[in-house]
């Protein structure tokens, strides 16, 4: 073990941790919101994210960007980013709603056990990965460098680049809007009411099926924006891109306490930072191992996570 990099590059690692944490958070919120209303781990959510990355790729291709041109001027990049960002949000959101109708709704109406829904989730996940393997030819799809990644300014050995700034600021804006939606709108109150007592919310006039659909929509939209940030930062995708980020996001949700929105945010940033710090010490290859270890560790030692309820004894 060598702690010298951790010490010398601490701020660089912290910035990267925040960037990764923000992307994880956007995916993680989808797990936690759906778990809240349905007590279901939507394991196909990682594929909703993958569909977002594919959408970004296709939109950018369609506009003729192949990666051999110079980075765009800022205003052009902003326009293009908004375009593929919103495209990904819409496509992922709609995909999530369709997923709920196809994979879960019938089971719910029939009163099937949660295990059936979980199996259905895993099946839907495999299905989507395989379909997109076929479509994409199972190869890495490289995203063009649309924005210059030259250093904007340096801070304590940390090089702040435009793409990192975009992710952090963009995610902060989205979290702000999400907070408003959750706390001040009919949709947000409905989601929270259904999460806390489904039967009471029905008897207070809440249309639970609607709320569930829109919860999937909201989770999908967030994952779609997350995928746009991901593409700008990592610049590549493939059909199974969702797996590792999905595991990270799920781990972050469990770490923060699944079902809890605030928990998913804190869990994601904690995990993002932890991944960066440990890979500085152990080597980058260990990043995902660390994630799995945290997942198992939290489930064993503190299944309620930081804020939420225990996965093992979810309310019936």
């Amino acid at each position: 073990m060598d702690f010298s990099i951790l010490v010398s590059d601490f701020w660089a690692l912290t910035i990267d941790g925040l960037v990764v944490g923000a992307i994880i958070a956007l995916v993680s919120l989808g797990y936690t919101l759906v778990y809240g209303v349905l007590r279901l781990i939507n394991f196909a959510h990682s594929e909703i994210f993958m569909i977002g990355t594919m959408t970004c790729y296709w939109v950018v291709q369609r506009f003729g960007f192949t990666g051999y041109e110079d980075p765009l001027p800022l205003w052009k990049f902003a326009g293009l980013f908004l375009l593929f960002g919103f495209a990904a949000a819409v496509v992922s959101g709609v995909a999530a709603v369709i997923l709920e109708i196809v994979a879960y709704r019938r089971l719910r109406v029939l009163g099937a056990s949660r295990l059936s829904s979980l199996i259905s989730a895993i099946g839907a996940s495999f299905f989507l990965v395989e379909v997109f393997q076929k479509i994409s030819g199972a190869k890495n799809l490289d995203f063009p460098r649309l924005i210059s990644k030259d250093t904007l300014f340096e801070f304590q050995n940390a090089y702040i680049t435009q793409d990192k700034l975009l992710v952090i600021v963009g995610a902060a804006v989205i979290f702000y809007i999400l907070n408003r939606v959750i706390h001040h709108t009919k949709l947000g109150l409905g989601i929270r009411a259904v999460s806390q007592d489904e039967r009471a919310s029905i008897l207070m006039g809440v249309n639970v099926n609607r709320i569930i659909s829109y919860t999937f929509l909201l989770g999908g939209v967030l994952a779609g924006f997350g995928s746009a940030f991901y593409m700008v930062f990592y610049e590549t995708t493939k059909a199974n891109v969702g797996f590792l980020i999905g595991i990270s996001a799920f781990t972050a949700a469990v770490l923060g306490g699944i079902g809890n929105v605030k928990g998913a945010l804190y869990g994601s940033f904690a995990l993002g930072l932890f991944q960066q710090y440990t890979s500085a010490v152990l080597g980058y290859n260990w990043k995902d191992v660390v994630t799995f270890v945290i997942l198992v560790f939290v489930l064993l030692v503190k299944p309620t996570g930081l804020f939420g309820e225990a996965l093992q004894k979810a309310r019936v």
Binding site: R180, V181, T185, G190, R192, A193, D197
Partner: protein
């Protein structure tokens, strides 16, 4: 004459082989406090569960302001004018008092959830109106000073009253109260009686399930008595207190030795 806001006709409810309600007729008139009493297990809460659509009756008809509720989904019945409280408090514990009430108020506003998600002006206006209505109801119920506290942190009595405010946010034609005085001390019971009268005077009809006889006899305009799933009496509090069948049902007659 008076309009029947809730009318239950020839209601038969069976759970497996057991008949929980046997040919029960009930109604609640406009502007009255009606009470439903009976020994434990008589089927009182079952009546609430049936009229709010939680169970489906084997036979019978349920009318709210003349419109049939049979086959309607429970959330639609709630919006159509039947709002209830629960014997075991079922608030949204991790939401503030005012959010609890606003959730029910929001159920009535017509703007859609997409608009809510994207913050279109109409949704914002409706959501603001729900919030104002929620604050107004908290004031009416005497909880405005606790509006921003988490429901789970409220004292027991306030939680019970908050449930009533939440139900009122649905503008119910009939407010269904399931043992609202449970766990109250005598002073709180008196205050609750005042509150229920105030609710009636505001124009809501009330159907009350309650074990506390002094409260029932004090505030009710009309009392119906259930025993073993059958209605055995109906009348004014005075008539009910002097009804021999009711007295037998409560005290037990010789052959009914359980």
């Amino acid at each position: 004459m008076s309009t029947k806001l809730l009318e239950v006709k020839n209601l038969v409810v069976k759970f497996g082989g057991v008949t929980a309600l046997d040919n029960v007729n009930l109604h609640v008139n406009q502007g009255e406090i009606a009470a439903l009493i009976g020994p434990n297990g008589a089927g009182k809460t079952t009546v609430f569960n049936i009229v709010t659509g939680y169970y489906t009756p084997a036979e019978g008809e349920i009318l709210v302001d003349g419109k049939s509720m049979l086959g309607l989904r429970p959330y639609k019945i709630a919006r159509a004018g039947l709002a209830r409280t629960f014997q075991n408090i079922r608030l949204f514990g991790d939401m503030t008092a005012v959010e609890n009430v606003a959730t029910a108020a929001d159920a009535l506003n017509k703007s859609g959830l997409v608009g809510s998600l994207f913050g279109v002006p109409r949704s914002r206006r409706d959501e603001k109106a729900s919030m104002e209505k929620a604050h107004e109801l908290l004031k009416f119920i005497g909880l405005d000073h606790r509006a921003l506290q988490m429901a789970k942190n409220l004292p027991y009595g306030d939680q019970r009253r908050l449930e009533i405010a939440r139900a009122l946010a649905l503008n119910p034609k009939v407010l269904l109260l399931d043992e609202p005085a449970a766990g109250f001390n005598p002073q709180e019971k008196v205050e609750l009686g005042e509150l229920i009268r105030k609710i009636r005077d505001r124009g809501f009809a009330v159907l009350l399930i309650e074990h506390d006889m002094s409260l029932v006899m004090d505030i009710s305009d009309r009392v119906s008595v259930l025993d073993f799933g059958q209605k055995i009496a109906e009348g004014t509090p005075v008539e009910i207190q002097n009804n021999q069948r009711v007295i037998d049902a409560y005290l037990g007659v010789a052959e009914d030795a359980s």
